[in-house]
């Protein structure tokens, strides 16, 4: 379905962006992305082993502007690039969940500095995963293998944290993504506990998003979470290859499964240049290609456009939340 209508909401598939690429135009096992105010987008690719690690700078209208970062342990390099966030000045923060450090770049990709120390003491990191800035300009870092969320200044000074390993409310099991809403509440994708938990700005547990008692709206390894201007909550359900949508009160609303029936311009260019691929594509059911595969990150922009990054399809699918939708006559 290109348009999904549920509980008074309308989600309209718009277009997709990206394709596989070991380097240059394209992404490889992308893990996260960040949007700048000018619709520039920074996509962080994990690659595999010694290849493909980078941050790509692209625009929402498919322009590839460049890339920075590479495999390695040196300044500005990555082993396992994981997540990315922009501060209010536009600086780029990128986490590496093998090196346990946060690297900072300017928008041209110039390395600025890095911080982070491996360990399990307060302020130390073990597999930093999702990141987001809070309303005070401090960085929330999901410290996955320490099963907690920590807050740092931009310079890396530890300010506090919450959570510990477990399955009770307020506890985590290998958490992954994180976001905040306009009120400063914090949402954490509690990956191995198959739920998203909501906390207030001080880290006090508020509620959770998970399956209803009847199993509706269940999650299997949620990787990322985002909140729109109306408080609806979007969760990339990594294990089930879908996007789950919940109302602010936790009620399950809808599932989106991916609708990329029209390849991105980058992809189409690749197809058009390969006659054998054109022939092969004309003989198959392409539906598996439309669908999400390993959705890892979801963001909602200021216009309530919902953007879903897929690690295994190396692209972003974009939906509009349509606010003025009028039903067509059902008897057409």
């Amino acid at each position: 379905m290109l348009t999904t209508v549920a509980d008074g909401r309308v989600f309209d598939y718009s277009y997709c962006l990206g394709m596989y690429g070991m380097s240059g135009q394209g992404f490889w096992a992308p893990q996260d992305f960040a949007l700048a105010d000018d619709d520039t987008m920074f996509v962080i690719s994990r690659g595999a082993e010694e290849l493909g690690q980078r941050i790509s700078k692209v625009t929402l209208d498919h322009q590839f502007l460049g890339q920075f970062g590479a495999f390695g342990r040196g300044d500005g390099q990555f082993i396992w690039p994981r997540s990315i966030a922009l501060d209010d000045a536009g600086a780029i923060y990128a986490s590496d969940d093998f090196l346990n450090r946060i690297s900072i770049f300017d928008q041209d990709g110039a390395f600025q500095h890095a911080w982070g120390e491996a360990g399990d003491a307060k302020g130390q990191l073990n597999a930093p995963s999702g990141m987001t800035f809070d309303g005070s300009g401090n960085l929330l870092v999901v410290d996955a293998m320490n099963h907690r969320v920590q807050r740092f200044t931009k310079k890396g000074k530890y300010l506090g944290g919450f959570g510990r390993q477990g399955a009770a409310d307020g506890e985590f099991n290998l958490p992954w993504g994180v976001c905040t809403d306009d009120a400063g509440n914090v949402y954490v994708a509690d990956w191995k506990n198959n739920r998203v938990q909501k906390f207030d700005a001080d880290g006090n547990y508020l509620m959770k998003f998970e399956a209803s008692p009847s199993g509706v709206g269940d999650l299997h390894g949620p990787s990322s979470v985002a909140v729109d201007s109306e408080g609806d909550v979007y969760v990339t359900d990594w294990g089930s290859h879908r996007l789950q949508v919940y109302a602010p009160d936790g009620r399950f609303i809808a599932t989106l499964v991916g609708d990329a029936q029209q390849p991105s311009p980058w992809t189409q260019t690749y197809i058009d240049a390969n006659p054998e691929i054109i022939k092969a594509r004309r003989r198959v059911n392409l539906e598996p290609e439309w669908r999400f595969r390993r959705p890892v990150a979801v963001k909602v922009d200021r216009n309530d456009r919902i953007m879903v990054l897929e690690a295994a399809r190396h692209r972003i699918q974009i939906y509009d939340k349509v606010k003025d939708y009028e039903e067509h006559p059902l008897n057409l």
Binding site: M19, Y20, G21, G26, W28, A29, Q31, R46, G47, A48, E49, E50, G52, I79, W80, D97, F98, L174, W176, W191, K192, G221, S223, W238, G239, P263, W266, T267, Y270, I271, E276, I277, A280, R281, R283, V284, L286, P288, E289, R293, R294, A311, A312, R313, H314, R315
Partner: protein
């Protein structure tokens, strides 16, 4: 904890039915008893599988790997981190028997799917396994059954099914191959979405009745309108099949046999052992688990310590497991895949459908140097967690004479049985620095343990499982 002999026997079992085990694990298994350990191995469902979610979260490039060696690295991750060692060892056994290579298939995820099929069916009915194999997309493409059509047969799959996968040369005729091939017409793969530029998509087995030769066929003395399953039914009931499979299991798990192509003219080294395995096959209606239960509990197995040359995969994975530095997700599993290839066994890419030659043929001058350097380099590194654990264990024994020092190291890396020459060399080294002490000489002693472990890893004896 069992006694030293119990632990040594468990060490033998775990090297053959798995990829080795630490001394602590051996002691734990020995305490439960040998037969219990065999049953744990034969029933892998008693243990949690590798957590694929954790694997693919931290190593996403391994899922649907876009190219080698990432698919090889993915398998090595599983072989090192599994709690179901025989399940993985059987996958390796079937991969060596039903050799399928990326050189032609050029679809790493399909080969990974085939290995997963081996995990699923590798300890069950041989008939069901052959049916799965005949429907496996990688195998269909590898042996051209997608080109085997009604009225225009391609004999590649039909021939190898009989020659290399079930009965062996000399037990069927050229006509049997043609008739078997006719029965497998219409067994093919459907078109799939091309691999690029959106990652990999999978093949699916497809049966096309309109392309199947449904006419009467005569195969191994049986006549009927046979389809592929009927051919497999006949094949698995042939005495030659039981004998062929028994010999392969003996060669892989017990002791090196002559190379497979000579089997029709060279008798087995231990005919009685083969007879016992054949009897297990017959009594169980072709159940692989029953054959392995007979094998692992037999005297011919228990007495066959260090009589097989380790394959590169066994050497690399066994050493890495012992060193403990590849436990869980981390970068670098591809380096182990490369190491297997450098030593002569590129996983998921055997040299041909005849697979690798085994036994002494694993060893040539270049391969031996790589094997020695690899194992010695790892076991000599006392910073690695498994090696460090060995150092700690030796330190706990207090001051040791040179003889005791050598014995302790041999015990903790196997226990490893060595020849007189190796022992003399190791003792020379141990005596050169006198008693191993842990007082003010602790740092030096740690280095001495590392050096001794490296020497052991470099010995001729370490090359054998």
């Amino acid at each position: 904890m069992g006694n030293r002999e119990d632990i040594a026997l468990l060490g033998h079992l775990m090297r053959r039915a798995g990829f080795g085990a630490t001394y602590a694990e051996l002691a734990e298994r020995a305490a439960a008893g040998y037969e219990a350990a065999v049953e744990d191995l034969l029933n892998p469902e008693r243990f949690e599988p590798v957590d694929a979610d954790v694997l693919y979260r931290f190593l996403p490039g391994y899922e649907g790997a876009l190219g080698p060696p990432l698919n090889q690295a993915e398998w090595i991750y599983r072989m090192i981190n599994t709690r179901r060692p025989l399940e993985e060892k059987m996958a390796l056994f079937w991969h060596q028997l039903f050799a399928t290579g990326n050189s032609k298939v050029d679809n790493p995820p399909e080969l990974t799917q085939q290995i997963d099929m081996f995990r699923q069916y590798g300890l069950g009915s041989f008939r069901e396994l052959l049916v799965q194999l005949a429907q496996n997309p990688a195998m269909i493409f590898w042996l051209d059954n997608n080109g085997n059509h009604l009225g225009a047969i391609n004999e590649n799959w039909g021939r190898e099914l009989l020659e290399l996968f079930s009965m062996g040369v000399g037990n069927y005729s050229e006509d049997d191959i043609k008739e078997a091939s006719r029965a497998f017409t219409g067994w093919t793969v459907g078109p799939k979405i091309p691999r690029n530029p959106l990652g990999r998509f999978y093949w699916n087995f497809e049966y096309r009745p309109e392309d199947h030769d449904d006419g009467p066929k005569t195969f191994l003395g049986h006549t009927g309108n046979f389809n592929g399953q009927d051919i497999i039914d006949i094949v698995v009931n042939q005495p030659a099949t039981a004998r062929f499979l028994a010999r392969h299991l003996y060669n892989f798990f017990v002791a090196d046999e002559p190379q497979v192509p000579s089997w029709n003219i060279t008798p087995p080294n231990d005919p009685d052992a083969i007879d016992r395995l054949v009897a297990a096959y017959d009594e169980s209606n072709g159940d692989v688990r029953a054959m392995l239960r007979t094998l692992f509990n037999s005297d011919f197995f228990k007495q066959a310590r260090f009589s097989r040359v380790k394959s590169p995969a066994e050497l690399v994975i066994g050493t890495a497991r012992m060193a403990g530095h590849f436990a869980g997700p981390r970068p670098g599993f591809n380096s182990l895949a490369f190491e297997c290839a450098y030593q002569g066994q590129e996983l998921l890419n055997p040299p041909s459908v005849e697979s690798w030659h085994t036994g002494a043929e694993w060893i040539d001058g270049g391969a031996l140097v790589r094997r020695v350097n690899f194992a010695a380099g790892i076991l000599g590194d006392t910073a690695l967690p498994g090696v460090s654990a060995i150092v700690i264990s030796i330190r706990a024994r207090g001051a040791l004479s040179p003889d005791e020092f050598v014995d302790a190291c041999l015990e903790l890396v196997g226990p490893l049985e060595i020849g007189a020459n190796t022992r003399a060399e190791l003792l020379d080294q141990a005596r050169s620095d006198g008693e191993l002490r842990w007082d003010d000489a602790a740092a030096d002693s740690e280095k001495r343990v590392g050096l001794m472990l490296a020497l052991i890893a470099a010995s001729r004896d370490f090359q054998f499982a």
